[in-house]
């Protein structure tokens, strides 16, 4: 019986093409499936907790001392915490990313086409802009049940939902290719 691994390695990789719309649903999915989301949450609470705590303490102290004017800076602190929580929430991040995409492409939602090949993957964007990323340049890939997070920079990743592949076989083939070509592949969930 032929060895399936050997067969995969010797056969040339038939390119896998996917196409999807970068819309609100896609962006929310990408934000919710961010592999570094828990680290981001930790950082967010580490920054905001002391400010919120100080604000609440000052509000209580002002109320006890019947000092209405001291309430202004305390409420300011709590307002800052509120604004930051809203900006760092999934919908806040979605708003920011949507705005940025609208600025960059002058349209929204944006059609995306990605082709995975043996040398790397090419992303075809609106306006004819294209980006090619060779596999050796990929820093990290995180495989999750809902899709793949491909890091081209430490703070920039492509989110590829599993549902955008035309069939599970193509998705499996792409994962196998990534496992062979990318040095750092992690599995989560």
């Amino acid at each position: 019986m032929p060895d399936p691994t050997e067969n995969n390695l010797s056969q040339p990789f038939e390119p896998v093409r996917i196409a999807f719309q970068m819309d609100d649903a896609y962006l929310l999915d990408s934000i919710r499936n961010d592999p570094d989301r828990s680290a981001f949450r930790r950082k967010k609470y580490l920054i905001l907790s002391p400010i919120a705590l100080a604000g609440i303490t000052f509000v209580i102290l002002s109320a006890v001392r019947h000092d209405r004017q001291s309430l202004i800076p305390s409420c300011g602190m709590l307002a800052i915490v509120g604004i930051m929580l809203s900006r760092w929430s999934p919908t806040g991040i979605l708003r920011e990313r949507r705005k940025r995409l609208q600025q960059m492409f002058r349209q929204y939602p944006i059609g995306h086409k990605i082709e995975f090949g043996s040398d790397g993957f090419i992303v075809l964007l609106a306006d004819g802009v294209s980006n090619f990323h060779p596999w050796p340049s990929i820093l990290r890939v995180v495989e999750q049940a809902p899709g793949l997070a491909i890091y081209i920079q430490t703070n920039f990743r492509y989110w590829i939902p599993a549902g955008t592949f035309s069939n599970p076989h193509d998705y499996r083939r792409t994962i196998e290719l990534i496992n062979r070509k990318v040095a750092r592949v992690e599995r989560m969930g």
Partner: protein, 183 residues
């Protein structure tokens, strides 16, 4: 019939000297409108702190003067960030954080349909001319503006000869809607 456009290729290193030069030659950042915006933001902070300080003084608070040094520190930090040296520090840090290295190698190939940027990792990005927002020709090079406000600074001296530079200029002027010349 005109001759087919021969691609022009340049290679350079993004280092401190290049970034400083790019900042000096970015017409949008150095415009009076952009400077006015920064000064107005600074004035708003100073004014808010001054009003708050006066209110505290009228209430005979001991620490009424506290907002003044806070405003001074904020303004100094702001001024530092608006200087090329201050911005350079942040850009350098951003490069190291995202790409893991600095300086970085880069090559650009100008073709008839657009230009291709190749990074040190081999990642390639193709930008067609129709997607370019505007191009400003300065005496020392070209500032290419991309959607979203990003600017590529291409010094004239990176080109192998003045003829190839002129060919790129002519082609860009013909294909990019927002092309302008600045002394």
């Amino acid at each position: 019939m005109s001759e087919p456009f021969q691609p022009v290729r340049i290679a350079f290193q993004i280092d401190d000297a290049y970034l400083l030069e790019a900042m000096r030659h970015d017409p949008s950042r150095n415009s009076p409108k952009s400077r006015r915006k920064v000064y107005m933001q600074m004035a708003a902070v100073v004014l808010t702190m001054a009003i708050y300080s006066l209110l505290e003084r009228s209430r005979h608070e001991d620490l009424w003067w506290m907002p003044v040094p806070i405003a001074v520190v904020l303004v100094l930090f702001w001024l530092y960030l608006s200087t090329p040296k201050g911005r350079l520090k942040f850009i350098r840090r951003a490069y190291r954080k995202s790409m893991g290295e600095f300086p970085v190698e880069r090559s650009i190939e100008f073709g008839p349909d657009g230009f291709k940027v190749v990074g040190s990792s081999g990642a390639t990005s193709f930008q067609p001319w129709q997607s370019v927002t505007s191009v400003v020709e300065l005496s020392e090079g070209l500032a290419i503006y991309l959607p979203g406000g990003a600017c590529e600074w291409i010094p004239k001296r990176f080109f192998p000869d003045s003829e190839s530079y002129q060919r790129v200029i002519n082609d860009t002027a013909a294909k990019v809607g927002g092309f302008e010349r600045m002394p």
